[in-house]
Amino acid sequence: MAMPGQLMFARRLGPTARLAIWFAIGVACVVLDVRYQAMEGLRSGLALLLEPVRVVLRAPTDVAVELNGFFTRHRLLQKERDELLAERTRLRLDAEAARDLARENASLRALLGLRERPGQRAIQAALVYQGHDWFAQRITLDRGIASGLGNGLPVVDDAGLVGQLTRVYAGSSEVTLVSSPEQLTPVYIERTGQRGLAAGTGHGRLELRYMPTQADVRVGDRLLTSGIDRVYPPALPVARVTRITRSQSGPYLRIECVPLAGLDRARAVLVLTAEPPSHPAAPPPAGKAPQ
């Protein structure tokens, strides 16, 4: 059985012993990572190393998208422009109304002696990498600490909440999507104002938890962030209710929702960071990941 290159006798351990050793090291890695979060240094090192590679390998796709855009039909572009112009007009009207309301709100808050809401600043980021979603659903963005990002910040796209930054490296960051299992988002139902907790279930879906069976929920209701956790700003659209089932055994409804943001389509997203408070009296809006 002495094959050339096969490791028998002599100075080296047999495969079984070496498997046992590496297995022990592997278990140590898992424990260090899960229990003590001691592997974040290695993570940031790998992130630093792989980030330029990812950006370079993303380039062909970007060029393909550009080319595709270049050959878009003229009429299609015109149609899209007309729609955008109409939407802009509508949005302008809305913005006027919102400005009016904001003024009114500010004076009312002043009358009631309430603190001003912290402002938001948005930082643009693009998706550079997506890993397997066997255990949690995460995407990697091309911005990091250098752009002023920090752990726990909300990430949105044009339609709604995408997720939350859970790991931030020097030049990149990882977003845990709202649909990721065990990712909790405090929400309220837009129509009734009832507060609840949306939890990701994986497979790009969420469920609204702990709603009593007599609660007023209908299919099609929109869920917005409630903002009571001070992580997400209030009233970001999160999900839409798609199915409600009454369970025979439990006291709660089973409410399934789909996220409004294009979790698997979004290429460009915005990361919301709190603006520095205008007056020193306001405490910094600290947020901790609800994970």
Partner: protein
Amino acid sequence: MNAAPHETGSWRRIAGTLTLAVLLTELPWDGWALSLRPDFILVVVLFWVLHQPARVGFGIAFMLGLLADFQDGVVFGQHAIAYALGVYLVLFLRVRLLRFDPLRQAAQMFPILLAVQLAAMLAGWLAVEPPQGLAILLPVPSSVLLWYAIALFRRAWHGKSLRDAE
């Protein structure tokens, strides 16, 4: 005996193929392509373990497993343990595997790759939380196909002479 340098596995070639595997994994895969993406790194590592066991072994497999863990954003050690198991199985079945033609060799690799994937699933399950369905097993058949392609390529590259020499 194991120090005799083979023409087949110079360090440059090993490093080149491993780098290529990492780069392929770093491509922006998504959707179905991502679910079905073969585990390039694992297949290349096991290929070299089969043909150059003195040069590529547990250490390299473990480090590349840590890299795979980083790429998926999962807990460190999950793929590393699984890859080490894969190396062990290939070393264990090495003599047998080398006797087969590419198709049968790929068929023999199926249970090994399946065991590696199951080990990764189990490690993640015990460490963090249950996995999302059985999609974790989808890369196994595609990895087997990749193995078949590589084995065919190797035979075409070296011709029959080297096979007889072994």
